[in-house]
């Protein structure tokens, strides 16, 4: 009993762990395709600085990079920022700011620490005049200006190393944050309350400049005097301020706030935020490396570049934790340089941090790695395209197969047709279809469990019962109306003969000789159809005409041989299905593809009315997931493809044709498979079902089909694997599935062996996965104790 219990839910949904495994596989596929869509590489590379101290300021000086930080850390690199080592002189105070100009370099820090380097010689010119120095700027190879709190001092270093300090005349009681000198005379200083001051005499005297009123309450935390025509500054609220030379008015007099139009997130995506007048991130440092080229840094891993003076700011990807706070840059030129930050972080770039889009460089197709990098995207596209036609093909083929196999095994004979009566006709052709239409929504409601409360039933149940009853009564009370059947027979015969003769002219108009007539179905399709239809009707009419109430088998004696005829045993539904399967199973699929797409133009014939049904004007704003299956339109008015279909079944004619060619063909084969499985169920099963009172359809649905479907899982699996493999033929009609993508890759790369090998592997992965799934399904639906498991 334990084993019984463990197989309890063999038909139900797979157990939870199976579900998880399935989801994991799906997630894997999704993540693979997502990664292949876009490759962006950070423009910054991490460098080992050899220290864990926070780095606060950096300079490029005489071909060397220098970085300074807390605890007096001082490191330098002589190879463009690749390797770093400690150097300079030893101090213990934090080094917070620096400047390099005129062949000299100055570093300042807490407790009045000032270090000065000229010609490679460091001098400690620290003074007890100050507390913590805020910023320092060189005004000559031995002179500089420092700011601390609300004071500005100039200093001259004499030959013997002694410092000559002078307090500059300043005009306010505000704290200064940043100082920058363009040359030995012109400098700018910024501070709290939106203060910007300028000096034209090397820092001795300072005058206020007009900052925009929007920043009058905020501190301007960094200012950079870039050139004689440009200076930039940033406020602690994220404003970017710009000053240009206007006519004769030099830089620094007029300041404006840069309008930030767009802020792009890292990764170069197409989505952006409208910036307004301030940056969204916390920015503490600006570095100007061109008239319009700015680098920005701040806390939370913020590194950004703007190439147009701050209108469009693109945050950059960093190869570090997003928590890292960046404190500044040192740039060798407009492209090469470093960014420094806390915990000894140094990032190095050779393109000003711009992100690299992989794939734009010239690819070496003789390198397998680069070849795969190039071709995998195409193969993935092909894989998706293949999956799309395969999925729809399988759905279509399986539905068609079930319907055809039911038709093929249906026991309805001409005898049953002749024995029908008016109520049965009413029942089959009018009442039942309407009943089914109403039953579908009712079944849905019933499945939700609401039906019990409402006592919901199909309103046509009564009509149906009445028709059934009347039809039984008539069958009992009225004898077979032989005359009516014969009248119908005559009518059918006359109609058939008329059809035949009225279409013969079209055939003769083709001017065919002898055996050429086998091609007449293509020369005059409708004429041939009507003639065949007429022949069928005439035969049917003759049989009906011969009706005398006896439906038994006729014995004909032709000379010595006896022929037994059983015209009433003809099964019309079976005949229709047989004609269909014979046509599709006796012609090659490749030719079917070409005939359906190029000859019959099925794609165009379905696309045009489909587009009319789901036209753009109607769907705009009304699309949902169901219409998306059929067609998706480009709705972005700025796109070139605005108003054109960009997705859905109707987008591509070859796609439509491919689905139909695969589905119609596979349906014919699946029909035979399912029919075989139905035939393999012992006839006693149907008898047993009927003997307890189930009707034919119930016995089929409840008894035969559940067993037949289990039997035909292995052969149907073969059929579905075949369908996947046959989908490669869709390349002939220009559908971009894997094989066609392979051909395109070969055309670009000339790597025949690699390409086709990769295509093979792709197919193998799909079909093998499918086969594994079917094996699993087979195992899951196995009937315990029964040999018809197929595999086990």
């Amino acid at each position: 009993m334990v084993t019984e219990a463990s197989t309890e839910r063999f038909m139900g949904w797979p157990k939870r762990k199976d579900l998880i495994a399935t989801l994991a596989i799906v997630a894997l596929f999704v993540s693979i395709s997502g990664a292949s869509a876009q490759e962006v590489r950070s423009g910054w590379a991490m460098v080992d600085s050899g220290t864990e101290s926070d780095l606060l300021t950096a300079e490029f000086h005489e071909g060397e990079f220098w970085a300074f930080g807390t605890g007096g850390i001082m490191i330098s690199s002589i190879d463009g920022g690749g390797t770093w080592s400690e150097s300079g002189i030893s101090v213990n105070q934090d080094l917070t700011s620096s400047d390099s100009n005129f062949g000299s370099m100055a570093v300042s820090g807490n407790d009045g620490t000032i270090l000065f380097m000229r010609d490679g010689v460091w001098t400690d010119v620290s003074t007890s005049l100050f507390g913590d120095i805020t910023d320092i700027a060189l005004t000559g190879n031995s002179s500089f200006v420092v700011i601390q709190q609300d004071e500005i001092w100039t200093c001259e270093i004499s030959e013997d190393g002694s410092a000559d300090w002078n307090s500059a005349s300043s005009q306010g009681e505000i704290d200064y944050f940043s100082i920058s000198f363009l040359d030995s005379d012109n400098g700018l200083v910024s501070g709290e309350k939106g203060a910007i001051m300028a000096s034209t005499d090397g820092g001795a005297s300072w005058e206020y400049r007009d900052a925009p009123s929007e920043v009058s309450a905020t501190g301007i935390i960094d200012i950079e005097y870039h050139s004689s025509i440009r200076a930039y500054a940033i406020s602690d609220e994220g404003h970017i301020l710009k000053s240009s030379r206007e006519g004769n008015v030099p830089v620094g007099f007029v300041w404006s706030i840069v309008e930030i139009e767009r802020e792009y997130p890292p990764g170069g995506g197409s989505e952006f935020e409208v910036g307004g007048s301030t940056l969204d991130s916390d920015v503490s440092n600006i570095d100007v490396i061109g008239q319009f080229k700015l680098l920005l840094s701040g806390s939370s891993g913020y590194l950004a570049i703007s190439l147009d003076g701050g209108n469009i700011v693109s945050q950059q990807m960093i190869p570090l934790s997003n928590e890292t706070s960046f404190n500044g840059f040192a740039m060798q030129d407009g492209f090469r340089g470093i960014a420094i930050g806390e915990n000894g972080s140094i990032l190095r770039t050779e393109n000003a941090g711009s992100e690299e889009f992989v794939g734009f460089e010239v690819i070496d197709f003789n390198d397998f790695g680069q070849f795969v990098d190039y071709s995998k995207e195409r193969l993935m596209d092909g894989l998706v395209a293949t999956a799309k036609i395969v999925i729809f093909g399988i759905i279509m083929g399986f539905s068609l197969g079930i319907i055809l196999s039911m038709l093929k095994t249906s026991p309805t004979t001409l005898k049953n047709v002749a024995q029908t009566n008016r109520f049965q006709i009413l029942l089959v052709f009018i009442v039942t279809p309407i009943w089914v239409l109403m039953q579908i929504p009712i079944s849905v409601v019933k499945a939700t469990g609401l039906a019990k409360r409402w006592n919901l039933d199909n309103p046509l149940n009564g009509v149906m019962g009445y028709c059934k009853e009347r039809s039984l009564q008539i069958a009992a009370s009225e004898p077979l109306n032989v005359i009516a059947i014969r009248v119908i027979g005559v009518a059918l015969l006359a109609f058939g003969i008329h059809r035949i003769f009225s279409n013969l002219d079209d055939i003769s108009a083709l001017n065919l000789d002898g055996w050429e007539h086998i091609y007449s179905p293509i020369g005059a399709p409708s004429a041939v159809f009507w003639i065949l239809f007429g022949v069928g009707m005439a035969v049917l009419g003759t049989i009906f005409l011969s009706c005398n109430g006896d439906f038994s088998i006729r014995e004909l004696s032709l000379g010595r041989s006896n022929i037994s005829l059983n015209p009433w045993g003809i099964r019309p539904l079976n005949t229709i299905a047989t004609v269909y399967t014979d046509i599709f199973r006796n012609t090659p699929l490749l030719v079917q593809f070409m005939f359906i797409h190029f000859g019959f133009e099925l794609g165009r014939r379905l696309q045009d009315p489909g587009m009319m049904l789901f036209d753009f004007d109607y769907l705009e704003g009304n699309s949902n997931f169901i219409t998306d299956i059929f067609v998706v339109y480009e709705t972005n008015p700025e796109s070139l493809a605005y108003g054109r279909p960009i997705g859905g079944i109707l987008e591509d004619r070859a796609y439509i044709s491919a689905i139909f060619a695969l589905g119609l063909n596979s349906g014919a084969y699946q029909c035979e498979t399912i029919r075989g499985a139905i035939a393999a169920i012992p006839s006693g099963q149907m008898e047993a079902g009927r003997s307890i009172g189930l009707n034919y359809m119930q016995s089929m649905r409840l008894v035969v089909m559940p067993q037949a479907v289990r039997i035909c899982i292995p052969p149907l699996g073969n059929e579905m694997v075949n369908l996947v493999l046959n989908s490669s033929l869709a390349m002939i009609i220009g559908y971009a599935e894997i094989t066609r993508q392979g051909k395109l890759i070969v055309a670009t790369t000339f790597q025949v062996f690699w390409t086709w090998g990769m295509v093979l592997i792709s197919y193998f992965l799909i079909t093998w996965t499918l086969a594994l799934f079917l094996r699993y399904l087979e195992e899951k639906t196995r009937i315990p104790g029964l040999g018809i498991s197929g595999g086990a």
């Binding site: 019984e4 069958a475 006693g684 099963q685 047993a688 009927r690 003997s691 009172g693 008894v703 029964l786």
Partner: protein, 245 residues
Amino acid sequence: MTEIILSVEDMEKTYVGGVHAVRGVSFEVKEGDSLAIIGSSGSGKSTVLRCINRLIEPTKGVVRLKGEKINTPAADINEVRSRIGMVFQSFELFSHLRVIDNVSLGLIHVRGMGREEARSEARKVLERVDMLDRVDAYPGNLSGGQKQRVAIARALAMKPEVMLFDEPTSALDPELIGSVLETIQGLAEEGMTMVVVTHEIGFARDVADRVIYMDQGLIAEDGPSSIIDEPKTERMREFLSSIND
């Protein structure tokens, strides 16, 4: 006077291909009677049985169930079949369904019962055939005798007016026959009307109220079970002696 449940009048059946399997058979079964049909293979026993519930359409003749003619297009064949229980030689259990679902399938889809109601009904019937302990097993995991008892329960669940047994023990090992025969015997003692096609002469003698011996599509002998011990015709004597060997 007991009511006639089932009557067959002048039944004939010619198969496609011209085999004349039944050549005019008539008999009646009264309520509570058990009728045994014996005869050699090909004598038309099974054909008669299948014609009764129209798994095969008789070529000629009338079948009446409680006086109502059932082999006409006017009779609702599915309704009629649900009133006639049938047990097959090869069990024909629905192998994809558990024992309990095998028995309740007809109750749900023909009688229109709810699932729970049908199941409790099915349990009652399974208890009668002593199969209550295997309700959750699949037919493939049952022995032949158990399968046949489930098949009997499946027919019984529909509360049939008459039960037809088509060689219920022929496919079983001698050891397993006993339990099935006991079950059938129990039903007969409860007063179930039944027609049993069988090769178990001993069983026919002990259980049947009446025995029909068929030969070449005709009833050769018809009488109480005692005719087994005293066959009148040479043909039946040969048949009996060949079986007793």
